[in-house]
């Protein structure tokens, strides 16, 4: 009865009701969107290294090592010697290793020197392996395998020839154009940094650098070329898979105490936790801003309900004369606030899902963020419940005022 009246009353004030709903919906969209992106970015970071037990590199901070080696964020640290890599890779508790050599780029994309183990052991999105969409993995010194984004945005196909440059970034001083690579394969999209990476063999990368030293680098020319060996000179870092997860801590200790050179081994989960601590402050302030926007949206509702009360005193008096109890007047106004809040939340949630469906490919390609369009998480339900509670709480204000009015005015209709 009262609920029906509330709905009809809102329908009668369609325009303001729609505006109020819209402002609540937008604020809910922002709040849920921030939470969803926060959650998904964590998920996606975690998924990127889902199969790896240890990341090993030269001595540095765990966060720096993880970000540079796995996510290609920031600059790589010092290289580690090939024999150190071998020493650890040959440990009995190690199941596999993937050596990574970073430091070069191709038109803004990172170039990664590695081995076929990369295609065999790297996992993303929990347990998926890399899949070639076209061509074959690299084999020879001149082969290159492109991530999906690289191929797509630079319009490369299998068979194209590319030249890599020393150093990261778009503008590089030395182009290794004496040693061009040929695209042999293009990877399917993963939603991880792999999509934005050019993969070559360690040997290929080495060949490029030897050319620099012998040919272009005047310093190298004076000192004279180094002895040529079959083993690569160095790697930047390597990923380690252990035979048993339980051995991770002892393996980490062993690496950290390695005597050949100072090394750092990090457990990806632990290092990510540190990353979250760093990004936590930003997330909190983003959350605070979106929570404030919700408050603004709900205040809009408060204002519109309060201003409507003045002109509705007559209506209240009529309802009282028909036998409506003051409590029913109270619930009528509260019901309107509740409906506005509920509609705002629903519209906001619908907009969020529509936005996710429409924007997921953009997020994936531009930010490397794979966003699942799944049911709301527990945290999101909690936020929705909080907004609903806040809406009701704010609705109490005009409801209480109308209650007071209806007691004080009695049935005397004022004009």
């Amino acid at each position: 009865m009262i609920a029906g009246l509330a709905v009809k009353s809102l329908r009668n004030r369609k325009f303001t009701a729609a505006l109020t709903t819209l402002s609540i919906a937008l604020s809910v969209l922002l709040l849920l969107g921030v939470e969803r992106i926060r959650h998904e970015s964590r998920e996606s970071f975690t998924a990127t290294i889902s199969g790896t037990d240890l990341v090993v590199g030269a001595r540095t901070s765990p966060v720096n090592l993880l970000l540079s080696a796995v996510f290609h964020i920031g600059n790589a640290t010092n290289n580690i010697e090939w024999k150190s890599y071998r020493a650890i890779a040959d440990r009995p508790d190690v199941a596999w290793t993937i050596p990574l050599s970073l430091g070069d780029s191709h038109r803004g994309y990172r170039v990664l020197g590695t081995t076929p183990a990369y295609f065999e052991h790297l996992r993303f999105a929990r347990d998926r392996t890399l899949v070639l969409e076209q061509g074959r993995p690299f084999d020879g010194e001149q082969d290159a395998v492109l991530g999906a984004d690289v191929a797509q945005s630079l319009k490369y196909r299998v068979g194209d020839s590319i030249v890599i440059a020393h150093g990261a970034g778009d503008v590089s001083f030395t182009l290794h154009d004496e040693h061009p690579f040929r695209v042999t394969g293009i990877l399917a999209r993963t939603g991880t940094p792999v999509d934005r990476t050019v993969h070559v063999t360690l040997a290929g990368l080495d060949a490029v650098h030897k050319e620099v030293e012998s040919g272009e680098d005047p310093l190298a020319a004076i000192i004279g070329t180094r002895q040529r060996t079959d083993a690569p000179r160095a790697v930047t870092a390597f990923l380690v898979g252990l035979k048993s997860r339980g051995a991770a801590l002892s393996a980490q200790r062993a690496v950290n105490e390695y005597e050949g050179e100072p090394l750092t081994a990090v457990l990806p989960g632990v290092a990510l936790q540190e990353v979250w601590e760093i990004t936590g402050a930003v997330e909190k302030s983003l959350f605070a801003v979106s929570a404030l926007v919700v408050v603004v949206g709900l205040s809009g509702m408060l204002v519109s309900l309060l201003t409507s009360l003045g002109e509705r005193r007559r209506e209240m008096a009529v309802l009282r004369s028909l036998g409506a109890r003051p409590v029913q007047i109270f619930s009528l106004i509260l019901g309107e606030a509740a409906s506005l809040t509920a509609m705002g939340i629903m519209l906001g949630a619908i907009a969020l899902y529509a936005g996710l469906l429409a924007g997921r490919s953009w997020l994936e390609s531009r930010l490397g963020l794979y966003v699942a369009v799944s049911w709301p998480s527990a945290a999101e339900w909690e936020l929705v419940a909080l907004v609903a509670a806040a809406g009701l709480l704010i609705g109490l204000i005009p409801a209480w005022r109308s209650y007071r009015y209806s007691l004080a005015d009695g049935m005397i209709v004022r004009f």
């Binding site: 009809k8 004369s321 028909l322 036998g323 109890r325 003051p326 049935m411 004009f415």
Partner: protein, 245 residues
């Protein structure tokens, strides 16, 4: 008339809006009988609407007793008074009687939403509440199919008053109270409105209390009560505040 049962009995009723404000109502005694048509006349601000609020149980007197249909409504709790009003009293205001966001038909049926008793009585013929509402509106020349679903904002003042009358009468309330229902109508309309109000009340044996400052209407009623003669407020009430929600 004198053999009829009293519908309203007031004794020594005193009321002021707040404990500190002057007494607005001070009535030693007033009796209105069943099926009587009473015209209550008095100057603006003299407290007529306040008295109607007391009769309807929206307010309670600070001292004295009010019996409506044999029940002491001053002794009832707030909820009981609201229910009593919903069940037994039909109200018509001067203007702006209708809920603006409901259709004509919904407005007329509204009292049955607040009172099961009136709902049951309205659908008593087995035809349902809406059928009874349409029957009432027919009597008032308002049952045009297009009119029934129309928003009440799109009605003339006279039409609005007829809808208000239908709403006050649905479910056969024993007491119909009209607070200056005709003051916004022209003379012809006023006469027609009174005709139908009388007719409907007579059919139902309803008691009618009609408030106005327009003395010319008085001749058509069973009894005219000059409000100044029964209500003689003097000084402040020093009784404890008995006003309840």
């Amino acid at each position: 008339m004198s053999v009829a049962a009293p519908v309203i009995e007031l004794s020594n009723v005193r009321f002021s809006w707040t404990a500190a404000s002057p007494v607005v109502i001070d009535i030693e005694s007033l009796r209105i009988d069943e099926a009587e048509r009473v015209f209550l006349r008095g100057p603006s601000g003299s407290g007529k609407s306040t008295l109607l609020s007391l009769l309807a149980g929206v307010m309670v007197p600070r001292t004295g007793g009010i019996r409506v249909l044999g029940q002491d409504i001053g002794r009832m709790g707030g909820a009981a008074r609201d229910r009593f009003r919903a069940d037994h009293i039909g109200f018509i205001f001067q203007m702006f009687n209708l809920i603006p966001y409901l259709s004509v038909l919904e407005n007329v049926c509204l009292p049955c939403g607040f009172s099961a008793t009136r709902g049951a009585r309205a659908s008593g013929g087995g035809t349902g509440i809406e059928a009874e509402a349409i029957r009432l509106l027919e009597h008032l020349d308002m049952a045009d199919a297009a009119l029934l679903r129309r928003s009440v904002n799109a009605l003339s003042v006279g039409q609005q008053q007829r809808v208000a009358a239908a709403r006050a009468l649905i479910g056969r309330p024993e007491l119909v109270i009209a607070d200056e229902p005709t003051s916004s109508l022209d003379e012809d309309r006023r006469a027609a409105f009174l005709d139908l109000l009388f007719r409907e009340c007579e059919q139902r044996h309803a008691t009618l209390i009609f408030v106005s400052h327009d003395a010319s209407l008085g001749s058509r009623f069973d009894r005219v009560i000059p409000f100044g003669e029964i209500n003689r407020p003097s000084g402040a009430v020093n009784a404890p505040d008995r006003r309840k929600p």
